[in-house]
């Protein structure tokens, strides 16, 4: 009896490991775009100066986001030529743009926010599109790749530091980071803390986005995987129901994460520009 139970557990784990492989296959980056059952597109492998710059699945989906985003936004921009008050889809996009401009950039950065609006808008719409692309059939989430989120966070990091240094000057920027009236003995320690703080902010940005996007998909795939692990059709409605719920949640998360990345970038820019404690 006990042996039987143990066997079942071992089998389950084995199945689970197969399941996990299948999940990881979908979530991890790879050199092929799977279009099962129609086939698999193998992506070219490119090596330049000893660096592997092969096109990967996530890069393809970042490009798809690019290809989706540019015509849509050009269409929206054209809508303003006809009338200053566009209708329908353009109006929906306008809501997002005005939200990013007024409620994120203006609120967090204050004066001189206009210069940062194009970057914030691009980051917001790129992340949003990447997130949503992961939710369509055959889709994949480019933002569930730490390399991509880290690159975006690096851009934010550069913009944040550039904003602060432009305001205070390079030396003045580091000086302004330190609070006033602190014993000079503590200054080196505080400087190290503040300096590290500069890097933890974008690091948190990168990890937060990546972890959120990978987690949702892992949960969805795991729920679907339960059907195959239990070898039972009866589990299917439960799994599909939960997966559907998570999928709907993911739509919300897609917007929320795009918003969080953008609003935190804007906040950090604002903080770097207003260092007086």
């Amino acid at each position: 009896m006990v042996a039987d139970t143990a066997k079942v557990v071992v089998d389950s784990v084995k199945e689970a490991s197969n399941g996990a492989g299948w999940i990881m296959h979908h979530i991890l980056d790879s050199h092929e775009v799977s279009l099962e059952p129609f086939g698999v597109i193998h992506l070219p492998q490119i090596h330049l100066f000893g660096i592997d710059i092969s096109i990967t699945k996530h890069i393809v989906f970042a490009w798809i986001a690019f290809v989706v985003l540019v015509p849509i936004l050009i269409y929206v921009a054209k809508a303003y030529k006809k009338s200053l008050v566009p209708k329908g889809f353009a109006n929906f996009v306008e809501v997002l743009i005005v939200f990013v401009r007024d409620d994120i950039a203006k609120q967090a950065i204050g004066e001189n926010y206009r210069k940062y609006v194009p970057y914030l808008l691009t980051v917001f719409f790129f992340i949003l599109t990447c997130n949503l692309l992961g939710l369509v059939p055959y889709g994949n989430t480019a933002t569930s790749n730490i390399n991509i989120t880290a690159t975006l966070a690096t851009f934010s990091f550069i913009i944040i530091q550039a904003g602060g240094m432009k305001k205070y000057g390079i030396f003045g920027y580091f000086k302004a980071m330190l609070p006033h009236g602190i014993p000079s003995v503590l200054l080196p320690v505080l400087f190290i803390v503040e300096f590290l703080g500069l890097f933890t902010k974008p690091f948190a940005l990168a990890v937060r986005l990546f972890a959120n996007m990978i987690a949702g998909h892992t949960v969805i795939f795991s729920l679907i995987g339960l059907i195959f692990i239990f070898h039972s059709y009866f589990i299917a409605p439960v799994s599909v129901g939960f997966a559907l719920f998570i999928e709907l949640l993911e739509i919300l998360v897609a917007f929320i994460q795009a918003y969080i990345f953008t609003v935190l970038t804007a906040l950090f820019i604002g903080m770097a520009m207003h260092l007086e404690h």
Binding site: S12, V13, A16, S17, N18, G19, A20, G21, I23, M24, H25, I27, L28, D29, I46, I51, D52, I53, S54, I55, T56, H58, I59, A62, W63, F66, L69, V70, L73, I74, V76, A77, Y80, K81, L84, V85, E94, I97, V98, R101, R114, V117, P118, Y119, L121, T122, F126, S144, N145, I146, N147, I148, T151, L152, F155, F210, I214, T218, S222, I229
Partner: protein, 180 residues
């Protein structure tokens, strides 16, 4: 529970090699390139025209509101002006009416005065005329009486005259005159 644990552990140990935390310089390079181009393209083709259009729209809304406010103030000013003008006109009309009334009153008084004077003058004239006529008549009567007296004297003298006859004659004559 065990199952889920296994899933979680296996999921992140990576069954086919590779982990989600694997650093891939190629992906970083391509993301950088893609994102920079996206930023540049969108800035040129989308953000600039859209944000400009939004600014323009906000500007026009602001201007419209300001103009509406100015128009409202002007309208209020006009209404106030009209009311002031109306009040002024009313006062002027009242003044004109009062003046006219006064003028009419004066005219009336003057006319009455003149009429009275005229009447008095006419009465005076009439009285003077009457007196003149009276005087005239009196004078005429006087001369006639004298004539008659002379005539009577003549007749008395003519009738050779005793005293009695004379008195009788005079009385008779006087009677005649009184009868006349």
């Amino acid at each position: 529970m065990l199952l889920l644990n296994n899933l979680a552990i296996l999921a992140f140990s990576g069954a086919e090699g590779g982990s989600p935390l694997e650093i891939n310089p190629g992906v970083i390079i391509w993301t950088t390139v893609t994102f920079l181009i996206l930023l540049w393209v969108l800035k040129k083709t989308a953000w600039k025209p859209i944000v400009d259009a939004l600014d323009q729209r906000e500007e026009s809304i602001k201007n419209s509101l300001e103009q509406a406010e100015i128009a409202r103030q002007e309208a209020e000013k006009l209404i106030a002006e009209n009311q002031a003008n109306l009040a002024k006109a009313e006062a002027e009309a009242q003044q004109i009416i009062a003046q006219s009334r006064e003028y009419a009153e004066n005219l009336k008084n003057q006319i009455i005065q003149e009429s009275k004077e005229e009447a008095r003058k006419m009465i005076d004239d009439a009285e003077a005329e009457i007196q003149r006529r009276q005087k005239e008549a009196f004078a005429k009567l006087k001369s006639e009486v004298a004539d008659i007296a002379v005539e009577a004297a003549e007749k008395i003298i003519k009738a050779n005259l005793d005293k009695e006859k004379q008195i009788e004659l005079v009385n008779k004559h006087i009677d005649e005159i009184s009868k006349n």
